[in-house]
Amino acid sequence: MRVRPKSWFERRNGRELFAERALVGEHYPGLSFRIDPDSGLMCLQGNITLQADCGVTTEISVRIVFPTGYPDLEPAAFDAAGRFPVSDDRHIIAGGRFCLWLPPCSRWDKNDPNKLLRFLDEVTVFLERQLIYDATGGKEWPGSQYEHGRAGYEQFMLSALGGCEDHFRALFPTIVGQDHPGRNDPCPCGSNKKYKRCHAQVVEEIVSRIGLRTLNYLYKKPQVRRDVSMVQAI
């Protein structure tokens, strides 16, 4: 008979869960762990209560879902009660999932003992930004943001290339896998250096952080790319 592999919260006699539960209990007592009966995934559910200086408190119902690969993979946060509309402008996608960050810019560090607390703090700040977005009439997202879809990834690429638009234009085909310069070829950036001594490392880093799967998904079909000058630098 095949034995079911232990979930992350069952391993090491549940010590990981025990530690996380203590941390959550101290800092976010409105949340509690429970196993989702449908998916079998561990969830953290309940309210995050946001305080304003004037004493008004706002309770927001959230659900944090832990993937089976936790803690190697980061959890996902959701608007459990549908309090906020699904909208790219407020960085909430289908199912009420909060887009806390562009995936290659994830703050998740599996080796950090306070990783879950940091994640919940990011969720808290994200919710505060939602309330501010509402308070200001939904005109402008408070703080920095990446553009939606491919444009957001291109902002990330530009940023990783030091904000140099010429380099971005020259290296973009290489990053998205349309060009494959040899390591000893001249760098596409036009520096006259060998690629391996110029941008090879940063391109590999960008590709690795975005992931081939995502790049293929985004750029599988050739599409007209927006002029880089239109891309707002973050």
């Binding site: 995050i48 960085h91 700040v125 200001t136 402008e140 990446y146």
Partner: protein
């Protein structure tokens, strides 16, 4: 000084807990309303509500230069209010009720003989006739150095609920219901006397003939305007209705008062510290740069008129008193303002500190307006779900303001007068529940984040903020903080995000959000 949810909540709860059982009955026999009415002893009173204004006084209080001319304005206002109070209240003259003066605007009530609509309506109109004659032919001649004053009047007839606010030594009659509102609404601010159709129809033929029908375009309502009346006719009508007003006696009283309150005894000054309005008087007035704010419970008149039985009426009055007292606390305790008056379901506040600092004064008045909205939306509606359909409408303006306590000895009225006072009242009257209306000069003084919450309305020529509570204003002010490090504290009381570090806070630069 700021608005705080928990403070507001406990204030309102404490008031509700201490409020006695409210009693509302129809007034069926003559009574001294000042003694009879209280916060809990309320009466449904059939009567005529009369508003009579001398709009010039606002201009004079604003525009008149310092010195003797300004003292003359104060003297004139004081003497006007004293004599008008006598004409209204004296048993041998009109035997009416002077509810109060709102600046130079008189609010009076006639309810005697009980339920006699014709006699009551006649008194309301005759008072306006007499006061117009008094101002034009007696008062103006006594003050030749002032521009000729004019009189604007309005009156309506019907039932309104009479009650009183509950402060010791600071008790004011309050009337709730459409006659008390409509009489003021039909005032034109010009040399015109108007009455509503209801009052006109109750008048005897001998008085109706002096009126012409017209339409008040502001409310699309039929009103009746009083035309010119020869003095002989006024005398005949007064005699017919048993009203003994002696012009010569009125003139002599005015002269006597002028001798009693000579210009050299009238003092005024700016205010370095918060004005104690009850310590003011004819010899101690204040001329200040101030923000006037009017906060009105929008929808209350309709709410009280919808009350079909005694229990609903009692509930409505309980709601009113809870709101009214909280409005006063917000003005006075949360924002260091002066609560001038309750006027039915609205409160008038004045902010004059720091002295002559128009920017800080404007900011304080707006913060107070947001506090009033917050109390209404977050506290009153939480504790009193029956107030769900009510809203708070606020109007604000800043300008030169005369603050004093004038009128007859023993029953002086808190006076706050100036063009900005009138403007603030108009801004409020044109606003719906949940709206704060301010002019551009006030808007210019606000911080950028708050400015963005108010939208320019070109039709009204005002900036309008809708549903701005303290929590929203605070959050709007935080909008720019996410580009630097933020600090998060969390625990049993909840989570708090700030740009400032505090004990146990965790800091990080927020991620750039993304939606794929």
């Amino acid at each position: 000084m700021s608005w705080n949810y928990n403070t507001s909540l406990s204030r309102v709860q404490a008031h509700l807990d201490s409020m006695g059982e409210i009693e509302v009955e129809k007034l069926v026999r003559d009574a001294d309303l000042q003694s009879l009415l209280s916060e809990t002893c309320c009466r449904e009173i059939f009567g005529a509500h009369v508003y009579v204004d001398v709009p010039n006084f606002s201009d004079l209080a604003t525009m008149t230069a310092e010195g003797e001319e300004y003292r003359r304005v104060i003297q004139a206002l004081h003497l006007y209010e004293r004599e008008v109070a006598r004409i209204v209240e004296d048993e041998s003259i009109f035997a009416g009720v002077r509810i109060h003066f709102q600046g130079a605007k008189l609010h009076a009530l006639f309810f005697r003989p009980i339920d006699d609509a014709t006699a009551i309506a006649a008194r309301a109109v005759l008072l306006q006739m007499v006061l117009r004659h008094f101002v034009r032919h007696i008062f103006n001649s006594e003050f030749p150095k002032l521009p000729n004053l004019t009189l604007s009047g309005g009156a309506d007839l019907g039932s309104a609920i009479g009650t009183k606010n509950g402060h010791r030594g600071d008790r004011e009659l309050l009337f709730l219901g459409s006659p008390a509102n409509y009489a003021a609404k039909i005032l034109t601010g010009t040399d015109v006397i108007r009455v509503t159709k209801v009052l006109y129809e109750a008048l005897p033929d001998s008085l109706q003939s002096y009126f012409t029908e017209t339409t008040d375009d502001r409310y699309n309502a039929t009103v009746y305007e009083l035309g010119a009346i020869p003095i002989e006719d006024v005398d005949a009508l007064l005699e017919e209705h048993g009203i003994e007003w002696d012009r010569a006696a009125s003139q002599q009283r005015l002269k006597d008062d002028k001798a009693t309150y000579p210009l050299n005894q009238i003092e005024y000054s700016d205010a370095e510290v918060l004005i104690d309005i009850d310590s003011l008087g004819i010899t101690n007035n204040k001329r200040v740069l101030a923000a006037s704010a009017f906060g009105d419970v929008s929808g209350f008149t309709a709410y009280i008129e919808k009350a079909e039985d005694q229990d609903s009426l009692k509930t409505a009055l309980r709601v009113l008193h809870a709101i009214r007292k909280e409005m006063a606390s917000v003005v006075k305790h949360d924002f260091d303002g002066v609560r001038v008056q309750f006027q039915g379901d609205r409160v008038q506040g004045v902010f004059h500190l720091p002295k002559r600092d128009d920017k800080e004064i404007a900011k304080k008045a707006i913060d107070c307006a947001i506090g009033l909205e917050s109390s209404m939306e977050l506290v009153i509606k939480k504790l009193l779900p029956e107030a769900a359909d009510l809203g708070m409408a606020v109007g604000i303006s800043v300008g030169e303001t005369l603050v004093s306590k004038l009128g007859p000895h023993g029953h002086r009225d808190r006076i706050c007068i100036g063009d900005s006072v009138e403007e603030a009242a108009r801004h409020q009257e044109g606003s719906n529940g949940g709206e704060i209306a301010i002019p551009a000069d006030v808007h210019a003084h606000l911080d950028e984040e708050l400015q963005k919450l108010l939208v320019w309305n070109s039709e009204r020529g005002l900036y309008i903020g809708t549903n701005i509570t303290q929590e929203k204003a605070e959050r709007a002010r935080k909008a720019g903080m996410f580009k630097q490090s933020v600090f998060v504290t969390s625990g049993a009381a909840g989570a708090y995000v700030s740009s400032q570090a505090s004990a146990g806070s965790r800091s990080f630069v927020p991620s750039s959000s993304y939606a794929g």
